[in-house]
Amino acid sequence: MAGFETPEAYRAPHNPVRLLPFRFEREGAGYLVSNMVGDFVRLTNGEFDALVHERLSPGDGLYEKAYASHLISREGQSAQLQLVAARLRSRMAFLQKPTGLHMFVVTLRCEHSCPYCQVSRQSTDRSRFDMSIETAEKALRIALDSPGERIKIEFQGGEPLLNVALIEKVVQNAKELAPKVGKHIDFVIASNLALLTDDILRFCKLNEIFLSTSLDGPADLHNRNRPRPGGNSYQLAVQGIKAAQKVLGADRVSALMTTTEASLDRVEEIIEEYVALGLDGVFLRPLSPYGFAVKTKQIRKYDSRRWLDFYVRGLRYILDLNRRGTNFFEFYTLLILRRMLTDEPIGYVDLRSPAGIGLGALVYNYDGRVFASDEGRMLAEMGDNSFELGHVNEDDYRSLIMSDRLIDLIGSSLTQCAPECFNCVYESHCGADPVYHHATQRDAVGIKPLSGFCARQKGVMRTVLDLLDGSSADAAILRRWGGM
């Protein structure tokens, strides 16, 4: 006679609980714990103690919480390990598409004289500080040799529109050559827009070129941060943004701000400036320790803690805007959320390990030298050539990427094994940034408890986690940003 099995027959075998790798940090009255792919869970002291001593069993709540968070498995079970492995592989898949970004420094000349300029712009001598067509052609050949099917060429300066003739030639050549090697190229010009003309806009429209510009906030703040002859940087930037939105489309122009000491009390005004211009978000970006920002001591005028206060106030203001119906992002938070809430392979060059130097981007300087990152060429203008990989006259893509210098820098700065980083609860979502640590501590790894980069990353992630846990209204907005 047919019958049912006993309930025991349907129970999972009582194999012992097996701890999976996790990282933890004390916080208040409990622990913040993250698994191997960076999912976070908050545990009380009692729960944490029970977890590490494996005192958990099905039905006690903690077992289910720990199992769902990939903190435990059962001996002999393989599905969960395969799931964690697949997620890990997905998160690191950016390594399969190396060097997606190629930056052409078409000139170091600039008509602005910003005291925080990180690239040490020059104001004179066209022949000395402009990239030649020969150099540009060799750089383009290297870019086209990189393995990705889709690459981005970004024209940088100085002010790149001072050498717009070269940009036009590079774009034309690239469009001719790219289909022959099976590549698609996206183009970006990073410009202050002061020299933007209708002809340049038409050229951008024709070639689907994206414009990235700088806007530091309201007129007085922007013009103070970004002086130029005539004192009209703000007026020209706003005029340029509006013209680009009209001709290229609202989604074809974006702006970046740089936080100076004068910005710290004005985050709401800065955000409102972006909203008024119809921009879809702002990147509350701290100063970087390169170029004139160091020479003019701008970099010393505020520390990570003051920047974090500025960031948190700005983020809260933006969340409030969203609650009132204005869709507006803080782009760094958005990036962090995508790292935290999805397994997308996000290879943002400053926020990855292995570091994005060379593997994420190559920079072709006006004089033909090739650098592992934009910040690397900024250091070179200060006399430090640590991140110079070679020269377009002598090197090809392979020799640059396989250079001992690049391999040493990347290999020595992995967060997966750097002191403190390898045990850090935020490691899965952080980055190595060897250039920053070299610039500030003369060491590519850096002593992380002394690192402004580390303090900012931890501060941003703590803020985001608190918002996700603390308010369902904020969490709903943030989860939407993260693509959930």
Binding site: P21, F24, S78, L81, V84, P419, P449
Partner: protein
Amino acid sequence: MGEAITVEFSEGVQSLDALHAAAYRMIDVATCRIERSTDKLLCHLAPKEGIKLDAAALRTRFIDNVTDEALRERLAQRVEPVRNLILSLAFGALAAQPDKRG
């Protein structure tokens, strides 16, 4: 500058690696010198200039850090085999051979 303190550990109970790791974590607030004395490990902690941390708070923070680092050390040993298995499933030869996974 705050008061310097000495925290004592029994060498048989606490590993030197955990003390080093705890000292490293606190490098922004205190300088730590570790010395051996018979069967004891002595950690001399001096708060850095500008750090407002009294002796009791400094001691508590250091001991908490040592406890956490010692736990991290023990956990790392326990999970090393499964960690290596997951990494090989993700990136090693097993990643390319789905039938042999797990």
